[in-house]
Amino acid sequence: MKINVALVGNPNVGKTSLLNHIAGTTLRVGNWAGTTVEKKEGKAFYKGYEIYLVDLPGIYSLEPFSEAEQVARDYLLSQKPDVVVNVLETPNMERDLLLTAELLEMEIPTVIALNMLDEARRLGIEVDKEKLSELLGIKVVQTNGRTGEGKRELLEAIIQTYEQKIKPFPLKYSQTLEEYLSKVEGNTKFEKIRKSQELYGEDFDKLLKDERFAFAHGLFYKVVKKVNQGAFELTDSLDKLLLHPVFGLFFFLFLMFFMFKIAFDFSAPWMEWLDGFMNNFISPLIVYLLGESLFSRFLSEAVVGGVGFVLTFLPLIASILFILSLLEFSGYLPRVAFLMDGLMHRFGLHGTGFIPLLLGFGCNVPAIMASRVMETKRDKLLVLAMVPFMSCPARLVVFSFFAVLFFPNPALVIFLLYLFGVSVAFLTSFFLQKLVYRGSLHHMILELPPYRLPALKLVLRITWAHVKHFIYRAGTLIFAVSVILWAMLNLPPGVSNPKDSFAGYVGRALVPIFKPMGLEDWQITTSLIPAFLAREIVLSSMAVIYSVEEGKKEEFEPRKALQEQGVAFANALKESVLNLLNPMPKALEVKEEHSQLKSAIKNSMNPAQALAFMVFILLYTSCLGTVAVLQKEGGTKFALLFLAYSFVVAWVSGVIVYKLMNLLVG
């Protein structure tokens, strides 16, 4: 037996958290209003039932205000779930009861979940759930979305409600309103209200609104037993500092710096270890075991060289995503949006638009989805045109490789690149709003939820989900690209100089396009082609190309090599911990020795070319995932135009940077 259940409630009340506990899913949770932007599902088996739960974007009312909210409303009205679970944030019950009233009007089987039980207790708020249940005629359970407390009771309530078809008592509004309603036909109160709205217009609307508020207010006072006034709220004290016009801004800048420092310092020793492990252990081991053959060359050049090389950057990606998840869970994100409102306004947006931009540092794809919280199409498109310029970890991987190789102070170079990306985003928005999306700005309304300690387990799970995705991509897309590229480098059969291979031919054909920014080597232009699929492929491709070109390696002795790897691992562990304790940024120190790949690349480029190359990678939207989601959110025309635009901007910027660098350096 299957029961269709919809989770409905105000934004940020813990709907997705509850679903994750009940169905064991890893859906996106975040401490800000608007985390869920599309319908998501999960299922649980309980007492012989298949309980199919649909998680919907949060809504304050059944009259939607944004695209995401429209999704929720449409689902409720068209899909007619068997049971609706109305999730409430207990500390904000009076607010949440407005939506409850609207749901009760629909007269369908409903269960109320009073979530955030822990926070309510801390604030001294007690709800008489029996009374609430008696007054409304439906089941009421108390839950905690963080710990999963109450999930069994919730499942029980869902099943009982379904079996016994428990519908709420019909709502009773005032006499005046009921008189209006008695004059129209309709099966449920909801239908009658809709008809009356059409019939009587504004006066009726106003009356209805006031009645609903009065209902929420009255019910709240009937069931909330004790309100401990003056309970200490940590959030208020923190906000005095963090929302402060001057201090708040400094804190934000400091936090950003600190986040990146930690991510780098922690991951650098691990990346170095992985790099050594691949090059000095796995790769020679393959040759040692299989002997010199085309197949062992394929394994060590295409698989270890390409895929393995990209995998060495996993620690950096995991650290950045871990830290950004912490930020998302803390509730700080919407505060930054508030602080940035003034700045954003100069560029035609309000503060809310800053949230997708910040998320973009983690990955552009969900950030683009998050643009759905914007209330108008215009605002949304502006945000869509900005997010792809926010530098994601995939780009950081490329930067950290080149910057360390070519510049004495790589951290500064990377910082400037990030800043450059942000500036291009803002300039894009500025011109767009002057030229295309003129219209005036909507008002900003932004909920600032209480600060919440991130649940470590959840943050780790979410980071792991990202890491898994990255590994998966390395095993599929990057693997395939590496194999194809490797084959192209070895075709036509018997080609002795890779330059004359198919790959070399294509690369050389592209050289004229990239020559103005100093990129004249076919190896580099060749690696740019497959990089359109995902940016880190530029590195795996280079690794494949250069390893095909490379000569022989030194002697290899498995036992000794394994020992060395063990020692290196212990060192990495020690160093990453020490780095964390060190207040000064440690990572990205320039090293003297280089691996073969590094010296090969270093010999074929100068700093000016490297910088131009990084700028190009930064700005050109070379990421299949991003383009696909841009198309989904903005339409095909928008996605293609944007792609072309980003290419032009990237190319022009690359050329300018190259020329400038040459002028400066001489």
């Binding site: 304050y60 904000n92 607010r95 508030f338 309304i445 909920e447």
Partner: protein, 69 residues
């Protein structure tokens, strides 16, 4: 008008004028007639108010339309 209230002061909502979408949303979010608001912070174009246990940042243009005591 809410816009003019100083930071740290508590005021009661008397009326909300106009029927734009944004105002309807504010009401759905808990800023309703009769509720007590505390002004938490003001910065540039926007203002943060606290109502019950939730905080909302709104632009001053909207705050102008909220009559308070």
């Amino acid at each position: 008008m809410l816009e003019k209230v100083e930071v740290g002061k508590k005021v009661k909502v008397l009326d909300i004028e106009g029927k734009e979408d944004s105002l309807r949303k504010l009401q759905a979010m808990g800023i309703r007639k009769g509720k007590v608001l505390e002004v938490v912070q003001k910065l540039g174009r926007s203002i943060v108010v606290k109502v019950d246990h939730s905080k909302i940042a709104i632009s001053k243009g909207l705050a102008q339309k909220i009559k308070v005591q």
